[in-house]
Each structure stands twice: as C-alpha cells, then as structure tokens.
C-alpha cells in the first residue's frame, strides 16, 4: 500500500503544500478533530501564518466522502465547520497519496472530550440557544439538502469560541463513511454492532438520534455506562429501549426528558422529526410516544443455559447456537415457542417465511450461516445483517466490501449475500420508503447481473464502486495512490510512467470498473477494445481512455504516459495496412507523444475516414493481387509445355502468310497471262 521505507518522523517533516498557499504541518497534530483513522493536523496560510486551518488527512482505508464534498460546501449554516478546500496530497510519512479536507480553524474545544464529562455549566436557556437551536438549524439544512452527517457526537461538536459562550459548531463528517467512527451508543439499534464500515449511510433520523445521545452526554453528570460492553448496552437497549438505558438513573430537567424521549425513540417512524423538534423549541408542550418494549414470551426458551423471553434478545445470540437452533427447527420446538408463547402475528409470519427459505435452500443443519441470517432477520428485523460473522447494514455492504478489497481480504461472502437475496429481504423488512426500496432492489439486481458477467468492467469490482460511491480506484497498480476522478487518475498514471517500467496496458479490471461507474461516457468508446484478446486493440483502448481523461483534465500534459504508449503502439500501427500510411501515422503519433498530447495521439490513430480509406484500398489491392495470381497460375500452366505453347496461333499465322503469298502469285500469273506473257 504505502512505502514504509519512505516513512519518517512527523516532527522532522517539512510542511506539506496543499494548493499554492496552504501548508499542512505534520508535526502539529490536532487529535480532537480526528475521525477514526483520519488524522487531523494544523495547517496555515503562507501569506498569513496566523491564519490557521484544520487539515484532516484521510487514507483509502477511511473511504473519505469525497463525493459529498460539493454538497457539504452548499451547506450555508454557520454552525457547520467551514470547508476551505479538499484534494489530494502526497503524504511523506508513508509516501502515499491522501485525501485532505481543509476546514477553517478557530472552532474551539469539543463540547465533551472523548470518554469525559461536560465541563461547562450552561443554564437551560444557554443550552437551548447555544446547543439545541444551532443543531436543529443544522439538521433542518441537512434535511433540506438531503445531506447525511453521520458523525454527530458530543466529542465532534465544538464550542465555536474560546470563551465557550457562542453557538456550537458541528465537526467534520466527510473524512470517513457515515457512522463509521460513531461509538455504538450514538447509533440506533439497527446499526449498533455492525462493523464500522458496514453501517451504511442510514437515514436522516439516525442523525436526530445521534443528536439526542449527544445531548444526554452533554447533560449527564456521570457516565453510568462506563465499563459496560457495547454488546451488553445493545442488549439492554433492545430489552428496555434506548431512552431508558441511556438516561439510566441520571436526573435531567423534565423539559429535556420530553425532548430526549422524542428523539431517542427506537422506532424511526415514531422518532421525532424536525417538525416536532421546532415545535418543542417554540415552547409547544409535546407528548412523545411511549417507549415500545419488546413483547415477551409467556414461557422462556432455554438455549445455551440461558433463558430467553424475548425473540429480539434471542436474535442477538442466535449465531452462538447454530446447531441447537437447527435441531429446534427440525423438531418444531422453536416454531412451537414462537407460535404459542408469543402473541405476535407479524413475528409468526416472518418466522414461517424464513423457515420456508431455509428449507428451500437445503437442510438447515447443512446451511447454518443462511439459517442464522434468516432467523435473526425474522426475530428482530431491526438488527443489522449477520452472515458468516460479518455484520452490516443493507446499505453498508458497499463500504465494507471496499475495505475488504483494499485489505486484500476474502470477499466470497459478498457473492453469497447477493445470490441468496439476503440484502433484498433485509431492505424490505427494514421498511424503507417505497421509492428508496425500488432503488435499492434495482441496485442489487444490477449487482447480481454484474457478478454473472466475466468481462472487465463488471464482476465484484463493479459492485464495489456501485454500492459505495466514495470508493477510490482500488486497482493494485494504484496502490498508495488516491485516484477518485479523471484528473487524479491522469496525474497518478503519469507519475507511475515517469518512474519507468510501465507497459501500456495500464487499465485493469478495477480501474475499468471504477471509471465505468464514475462516468460511463469515459469508458463507452474503449470498453470493447479493453475486453478484446488482441493486445494491440487493448493498448488502443487504453490510449483512447487516457486521451479522453486528458481532455477532462484540461489537457494536462502527460509526456511519460505518452512515451509509454508511443513505445507500445507498433501493433496498433499495423491496424493500418498501407505501409507508407503507417509510417506517416507513426511519425505523427511520436511527435504528439513528445508534447505529452494523448488526445492528438488517439485522434491520429482513430481517424475513421483514414481508416476506411485504408481498408478500402487494402481490399482493392487484395482483389487485384488475387486476380494477378490467377493469371500467373494460368500462364504458368500453359508455358510449362514450351513445345505446344502458341502453336495454334502460329499455324493460323502461317495460313494467313501462305494464303497471302498464294494470292499474290495467282494475281501475278493472271496479270502475266492477260498481258500475253507465257512463263511455260
């Protein structure tokens, strides 16, 4: 991935340029702005060194949300961290490319440090004015612009000033995938325990939930959940409801309890939205829906020495007892427990369907992974998907897959999840709106058909870029690089070629799939050649693609790339049959290569008119050659017998000569006779 030999101490590193005026100081860490594996550093303006910025440096492993940067910039509220720019830098610590988000500095301290407690003592009106109102405004703007933050937590909300008496500022959310770095308690139950990258984009209601938890963390005077495992917290949340677990024995003002009960409701459809939040802020007395407790069975189910009285809790542990569960399905005891002990028709229906699917897929005892997944979804559809020890949300599989591919891990589970329609079932059970449901189901269908296609540009490579739009190109050739658009691709490939040793077959399955998904117009003229077995056609396809991205990259000169192509085009020139034309084209291409002009190189080689003329001329020449060969063969055959060749013609000529002489003699005799001359 990166070059460890080039790694050095951050303290020894010179500031790293970002654009023309900004310098990132690798020696000056700002850990409170870190987001997962993305680390924050101080940056400054070369013209005014007192002007400080926060640079969050993200590697590929963080899957930064570069595709959302433009939308983030449209968020106008002053309580968002102001983004000053974003782009690629080469990070000298490991000599690899990183994506950087640069924000304006001066946002103050975090509201609550990680693992700590609130140190300020705001009164009720201050909390409303400085915290809840700005956050409500932020949420409103995000909802209006369909933007999902995914990193709302007390440690990522800042005071906005040194004196801590200004409206809060919400920290970065772009440096990793939504919810990827959120502590488990900030996530609704359906995302808790999912792997960080598998949590998915989620919905706007997830941000409201995270805001509610942030408020609790800000208000609480002690942390009752300190030292309790995430698994146990989730168990308690499932059993008692998130609100009850997070509030615990803490004493809050009743007005905040009303608000918190509304925003922390575990059912997203009953959770407060912005209308309720603004009504509450306006002083309207609201009645939040009561916390829904899971239905309990009238007799417990004994499993693994534990007594389960709720199917939701059973769902959490079902993967621990696959053999016992398989036996219980086969002997009907699980069915009996669900149907007789729990009065829940929906659960019974879900369970029956899942059992049908399990039986349809084969013997439950032989297909335990599928059985666990199905039963877990049936018993508690709110939980993330569990398949072969991978836990992910239906919309989080793309990012999880991207990370696995980046880390070169086995991704066979992905094919199975799609093949077994697990994602489809999960998204239907989750109850997403109909319009989104159709989009998801269509996306999964496209992925399935892509997996069937063996050609470059399809397969699992295409799926990863389709399911996670923030995935940079994961081509092994681009290891240590961050290629996310045409310009970065051109710059990176140019740098690779400048190092030497590259051949013109630069595009592999990953890069073809990446650019096919990024912009299908980039690939549509090259994809057929890139899939051809003929090496020269592949090279021509590569050149055509790079010429197109050079146009997109404002004609950035790429002499090294051009030289690699120019040195490899001997086979491509042969697509022209006329040798003189080949030479002319080669000269033209080599001249363009010296200027790094891939566009002209491609245009010269792909001139349709010249190609057609050449082809027509070749076909005519071939026809002429063929006819000449026929004539040659005929002549050769006839001339092989020299003694008889031309005899008929010769005899005809002799007859003509003979008759001519005969006629002449006859005439002479006649004239002589008539003139009285006697020759006898």
């Amino acid at each position: 991935m990166a070059n460890p030999q080039a790694a050095g101490s951050a303290a020894q590193m010179a500031p790293i340029p970002f654009g023309s005026k900004i310098r990132i100081n690798p020696a000056m860490r700002l850990p409170r702005f870190d987001n997962g594996q993305s680390k924050a550093y101080e940056a400054f303006d070369t013209d005014n060194k007192t002007q400080k910025y926060i640079a969050i440096v993200c590697g590929v492993e963080s899957l930064p949300r570069w595709s959302a940067a433009a939308l983030y910039n449209k968020l106008a509220d002053t309580s968002f961290m102001r983004m000053m720019g974003s782009g690629i830098i080469t990070w000298p610590m490991d000599n690899s490319q990183k994506y950087v988000f640069l924000y304006a500095g001066g946002v103050g301290e975090a509201l609550v440090e990680k693992g700590g407690l609130n140190q300020v003592s705001w009164r009720h009106p201050d909390i409303i004015e400085r915290f809840i109102q700005p956050m409500a405004r932020i949420l409103k703007e995000m909802e209006d612009k369909s933007f999902r933050h995914g990193a709302i937590r007390a440690s990522n909300i800042f005071h906005g000033s040194i004196d801590k008496n200004k409206p809060v500022i919400l920290g970065d959310c772009l440096s990793t995938q939504p919810s990827a770095d959120q502590p488990s308690i900030y996530l609704p139950i359906e995302k808790s325990l999912a792997e960080p990258m598998g949590r998915g984009g989620g919905s706007f209601k997830d941000d409201i939930y995270a805001f509610g938890v942030s408020l609790i963390v800000f208000l609480r005077k002690n942390d009752e959940l300190a030292g309790v495992s995430d698994n146990e917290i989730l168990r308690r949340r499932v059993e008692h409801g998130s609100y009850n677990v997070l509030i615990g024995n803490e004493r809050f003002q009743s007005v905040f309890l009303e608000f918190l009960r509304g925003v922390l409701h575990d059912d997203p459809s009953l959770r407060w939205g912005l209308d309720e939040i603004f009504s509450w802020l306006d002083g309207t007395r609201m009645t939040p829906p009561p916390v829904a407790k899971p239905k309990k069975a009238n007799r417990p189910l004994l499993l693994g020495g534990r007594r389960y009285v709720s199917p939701q809790l059973l769902a959490l542990d079902i993967h621990k007892f696959p053999h016992d569960i398989a036996d219980m399905i086969q002997n009907g005891s699980l069915t009996h427990w669900i149907e007789k002990s729990i009065d829940d028709s929906h659960l019974t229906e879900r369970y029956s369907k899942s059992v049908e699917r399990i039986i349809g897929a084969g013997n439950a005892a032989d297909n335990k992974d599928f059985m666990v997944t199905q039963l877990r979804m049936a018993l508690n559809p709110a939980l993330p998907i569990y398949y072969k020890e991978r836990i992910f949300s239906f919309d989080g599989l793309g990012a999880l897959l991207a990370l696995d591919i980046y880390k070169d891990q086995d991704v066979s589970y992905f094919r199975e999840v799609l093949r077994l329609n697990i994602l489809d079932q999960a998204v239907v059970l989750t109850g997403v709106p109909q319009n989104q449901l159709i989009v998801y189901l269509k996306q999964y269908d496209v992925c399935r058909s892509s997996l069937q296609n063996l050609r470059a540009g399809f397969g699992v490579e295409r799926c990863v870029y389709m399911l996670c739009k923030d995935t940079p190109c994961l081509s092994p050739k681009l290891s240590g690089s961050f290629v996310h658009n045409a310009q970065s691709a051109l710059i990176t490939y140019e740098a690779l070629c400048a190092k030497g040793g590259e051949i013109a077959l630069l595009l592999d399955r990953h890069s073809i799939a990446f650019f096919s998904v990024l912009d299908s117009t980039l690939m549509e003229r090259s994809i057929y050649d890139l899939n051809d077995d003929d090496k020269s056609l592949k090279i021509a396809g590569n050149l055509r693609f790079f010429a197109l991205i050079q146009q997109r990259a404002n004609d950035f000169s790429a002499p090294s790339l051009a030289k690699v192509f120019a040195d490899s085009l001997s086979g491509v020139y042969k697509s022209y049959k006329n040798k003189a034309l080949q030479k002319t084209i080669q000269e033209g291409v080599e001249n363009a290569a010296k200027l790094g002009d891939l566009t002209t190189m491609s245009m010269i080689l792909d001139d349709d008119v010249t190609l057609k003329k050449d082809d027509l001329g070749f076909r005519r020449a071939k026809y002429e050659y063929y006819n000449l060969q026929l004539e040659y063969n005929e002549l050769n055959k006839r001339l092989s017998n020299k003694a008889t060749y031309g005899l008929p013609n010769g005899r005809d000529a002799a007859a003509i000569v003979s008759w001519s002489i005969s006629t002449l003699i006859t005439l002479i005799v006649v004239f002589a006779h008539l003139s009285g001359y006697r020759m006898y």
């Binding site: 049959k577 071939k622 063929y626 060969q629 060749y645 003979s658 006779h673 006898y680």
Partner: protein, 159 residues
C-alpha cells in the same frame, strides 16, 4: 448446364447421322457438275493438288490450319498450269500432257512443300514470340504483386 450439353451432343450426333446439310449437298452437286463439265481442268487440279489432299487427310481434327497453308501454296503452284491448259485446247489430252511433264508436277509439289516450310517457320516464330511474351507477363505480374505486398504487407496475398 449438363442438360444443355447433352442436348447439344444429341444434336451433333443426329446431324452426323443425317450426313451433309442441304447447302453442302447443293454445293457438292454443283461442284460435281462443274467438275464433269470442266473435266480436263478437274483432272489437272486433282493430281496437282494431291499433296493438299494428303495434308487434309493426315491433319488431325482441329489442325486444319496446316492443310490450309499447304493448300494455299499448292494452289499457287497449280494456277499457272490451269491457265496453260485453258490457253491451249483445254481438252483431256492437253491436261495429260501437262501432268506427264515432269516440270509441271515438280512445280506444283514444290509449291506444296513450300507451304509446309511456311507452316514450320511461321509457326515456330509466332509460338516462340508468344512464349517470350508470356514469360514477360509473368515477370510483370510477379513484380506487381511484390509492389502490392510492399505497400500493403503480406496480408494482401492472403498470407
């Protein structure tokens, strides 16, 4: 195609069976009548043109050109004696006189031999010329093919 050939072959066969055509028969009758009317001349020409008859007889099918060459020169040798016959009494005796004179037959047969010589020489010259022309054409073809291959590559020859 095969049917047509069969029909044509049948037609030929039937015409052979029938013998000469009406036109040919008419010519034959007129010829026989003329030969009988001009019997001395007929006799002179018959014996004088004997080499031509032999040439026509021995010439295999399709090689009538040689007989024609010999006939032409043989005829040229006979013409003066035909005139001699006509300028004298033009009777049977005069015809026998001419035929029995060694000089006349020698001239007629030498003329026929000269016809054979023309056939041999001209045929040789013409066939040799045509052979050389064929060789030259083959060289031209080879050169043109080489030019095409040089300009368009070996693929032009389907290689």
């Amino acid at each position: 195609m095969a049917k047509e050939k069969k029909v044509k072959a049948k037609g030929k066969k039937s015409s052979n069976n029938k013998g000469l055509s009406v036109k040919a028969r008419l010519f034959l009758v007129v010829g026989v009548l003329l030969a009988l009317v001009f019997l001395p001349t007929t006799m002179l020409v018959f014996f004088g043109m004997f080499p031509s008859l032999v040439a026509a007889f021995v010439s295999v099918r399709g090689r009538g050109a040689r007989a024609s060459t010999v006939t032409a020169m043989n005829l040229a040798g006979c013409v003066p004696y035909v005139f001699k016959l006509w300028s004298t009494s033009n009777d049977f005796e005069a015809s026998i006189d001419i035929l029995t004179s060694s000089n006349a037959l020698m001239v007629m047969y030498t003329a026929a031999a000269f016809g054979y010589m023309i056939d041999w020489v001209v045929t040789g010259l013409v066939s040799s010329f045509l052979y050389q022309k064929g060789i030259a054409r083959m060289k031209t073809i080879t050169k043109r093919q080489e030019d095409l291959a040089e300009r368009w590559g070996d693929g032009v020859g389907g290689k």
